[in-house]
């Protein structure tokens, strides 16, 4: 079937990303306008805007399955693209779309459900001989059981929520004495965050690299991988910078891991785009972690090195078309790096720095791609994420990409709020980052400063502060007081004031 119009159940840069490809394919797009950001950039680029600003529901529209389906039906669209986050990995949503005969641009509800539950995913991986860390299987009914399992695995272990990620419901336990307490804490947190207290326990790999493989599959059973991405630059389980390919892999390992990724995707009959995540330890051993059944934020780096438009592929697959590429057709060319520039204060623990973007000038050029959802005048609100732009750089090889990235970062001009830009400028000069040896614990454990310390710049800032002080307080010419005005009262008033008593 041919998809003629898509409802994008998302916002910000990914909405714009989907619109871009849809437009190239001649497909119309509809988006949803919210009261939280009525003048967001993505609204002006779509063909149709559904005005949801009157919605007083407590559930934000992008998480409201019923409402989105209703909007889709009212707007008469053929398909819904969920983007990433929100309902992208909600099997009920995918199912509801299917029930209402709306094409869900993503995998089947069944594979979303299976891969979404970490315990089920692990079971499947185990059954297919995918390398994994030793861990618990099935539910863990009591604290005592948790302690027994952990003892079996051997410390350190990590407790993880079965139904969600992002650090919630996660606890690293190094000693048996702490196990009960941590189990309780993790379960409670998981319950609060994902409405499901189930957790599983696995061996904790110290200082791993995070390597993930991009999967594409069609409804005819063909599944290929598009190489890996390394996402070891993380802080509190939030990715900051990603690159493709990874400096840690050689062709053999790549081939092997890629096959594993395809294998597990096949095990659930996967189609559309997806990502299989691995942890890669210092000995070169890799362990399956989980599979993300959606398009990911960092997909651009894969697109730059393979030359394939992943959104286009997703739409084609959703139309029922067969994949145009076999595994041998996938060639990796060059190197790509993506910097997630967010509105966060790196000097205050990356705390969100909402505000209004006054000016934003991003570099452009042959090796530069910018995916952004904001423009000058956009307000980065506290409700949604703090992303300003993704700066994606291409190079012939890693060295070239690093050099291009350094240059590009120096050309970024954003005013109006604090950004993570100083972090990237520091990182691109950091020797451990340059030699590719960093792991997921690097940012939190080994970095002492999150920005470049420039004495030079500090001095210029000091001069400015002094200038401001002088201007405000010491510059007498600045405060011209007009005393004549004080006496320039109308006779009406003057008379009244004087004869007051």
């Amino acid at each position: 079937m041919k998809i003629k119009n898509i409802l994008i159940a998302n916002r910000g840069e990914i909405a714009i990303r989907i619109i871009k490809t849809a437009r190239q394919m001649g497909i119309k797009t509809s988006v949803i306008k919210t009261a939280a950001e009525p003048s967001a950039m993505y609204l002006a680029l779509a063909d149709n805007v559904y005005d949801d600003t009157e919605n007083v529901s407590e559930i934000p529209v992008f998480l409201d399955i019923e409402r989105i389906i209703k909007i889709a039906i009212d707007s008469g669209v053929d398909a819904i693209h969920p983007g990433y986050g929100f309902l992208a990995e909600n099997p009920y949503f995918a199912q509801k779309c299917a029930d209402k005969k709306i094409v869900f641009i993503g995998p089947s509800p069944d594979s979303i459900y299976k891969m979404g539950n970490k315990t089920i995913a692990r079971k499947i991986a185990l059954a297919h001989g995918i390398p994994m860390t030793m861990g618990s299987e099935g539910k863990i009914p009591t604290e005592n059981e948790a302690v027994r399992i952990a003892r079996n695995i051997g410390y350190p272990v990590i407790i993880k929520a079965a139904s969600g990620g992002g650090g919630r419901g996660m606890r690293i336990v190094t000693r048996e004495e702490d196990m009960s307490k941590m189990f309780r804490l993790a379960s409670n947190e998981a319950e609060k965050a994902f409405s499901d207290p189930s957790v599983f326990i696995e061996k904790y790999i110290e200082n791993p690299k995070h390597i993930e493989f991009q999967i594409l599959g069609d409804t005819k059973g063909n599944i290929i991988h598009l190489g890996e991405r390394e996402c070891s630059v993380q802080r509190k389980h939030q990715k900051l910078l990603e690159e493709a390919p990874s400096i840690a892999l050689n062709d053999d390992i790549r081939k092997e891991m890629g096959q594993m990724a395809v294998k597990i995707a096949s095990a659930v009959g996967y189609f559309s785009a997806g990502t299989v995540e691995f942890l890669f330890d210092s000995e070169g051993a890799y362990y399956f972690m989980e599979m993300n059944t959606r398009i990911q934020v960092e997909h651009p780096v894969t697109e730059l090195i393979t030359g394939i438009d992943l959104i286009e592929e997703q739409i084609r697959i959703a139309e029922g078309k067969e994949l145009r590429y076999r595994q041998k057709d996938i060639k990796i060319n060059g190197w790509a790096i993506e910097c997630r520039i967010n509105a966060e204060d790196v000097q205050s623990g990356f705390s969100p720095a909402p505000g209004k973007i006054e000016q934003i000038l991003m570099p452009s050029g042959e090796n530069i791609r910018v995916d952004s959802g904001v423009q000058a005048g956009s307000v980065i609100a506290a409700n949604f994420d703090s992303m300003i732009a993704k700066l994606i750089i291409y190079g012939r090889d890693r060295k070239d990409a690093l050099a291009n990235c350094k240059q590009a970062l120096d050309k970024v001009w954003i005013k109006g709020t604090k950004t993570t830009l100083p972090f990237f400028r520091m990182l691109i000069r950091n020797p451990r980052f340059i030699d590719g040896s960093i792991t997921t614990s690097f940012i939190e454990n080994e970095l002492t400063g999150y920005h470049v310390n420039s004495e030079y710049e500090e001095m210029l800032a000091a001069w400015l502060a002094t200038w401001l002080f002088v201007d405000e307080n010491l510059d007498e010419s600045n405060l011209k007081i007009n005393f004549e005005e004080t006496k320039n009262l109308s006779p009406w008033l003057l008379n009244k004031r004087i004869t007051r008593h």
Binding site: S348, G416, H451, V452, L464
Partner: protein, 173 residues
């Protein structure tokens, strides 16, 4: 005051920059002098022009003689002191000593919704510590210093009154 002051100092926590008055638009580095200019245009907003390069600059806060400036994306805090007030600061820090502990007090009566840290958590200035609901509004209480949490005296569902000590933080230097 300008007539009497010959010099002003801009102090950060660790460093001291001295500037002679009247303040000129040139700064001397080594043997050479360079011109520094404050400029503004629509495309770039406010910026500093130095050695032919534009540096984005924002005044985040300015209060009495304290300024927080975002210069080239890094935020710096300065207090501007005269030679006399500098001596006064030194005298006072001897008298007052260093403050070691920071008590996080409830700013208003309310109910704790969520505690985001534990004993031992290392925390940076500005990072959220807990969520307090009061007057139907959810307030994020942020940490005013860099340090380590030494004691957590509240948990979710607990009600606090104004000035209750909710957390204690050991300040890191």
């Amino acid at each position: 005051m300008a007539k009497q002051q010959k010099k002003l100092y801009a102090l950060t926590g660790k460093k001291k920059y001295g500037f002679s008055l009247p303040l000129t638009d040139t700064i001397k580095i080594g043997k050479r002098k360079y011109k520094i200019m404050i400029k503004e245009d629509e495309k770039h907003g406010t910026y500093i022009l130095w050695k032919n390069r534009r540096y984005p600059v924002e005044i985040i806060q300015s209060r009495q003689n304290k300024f927080e400036i975002l210069f080239n994306y890094v935020s710096y805090s300065f207090t501007i002191e005269t030679p006399f007030s500098l001596k006064r600061k030194q005298y006072l820090s001897k008298e007052m000593g260093q403050v070691e502990e920071e008590k996080i007090l409830a700013p208003m009566p309310g109910k704790i919704i969520e505690v985001l840290v534990r004993e031992g958590t290392e925390i940076s200035r500005g990072e959220p510590l807990l969520i307090l609901e009061a007057m139907k509004m959810q307030n994020e209480i942020n940490c005013p210093v860099n340090g380590t949490v030494t004691s957590v005296n509240v948990k979710p569902e607990v009600s606090v009154v104004k000035d209750d000590v909710m957390l204690e933080i050991k300040i890191s230097q």
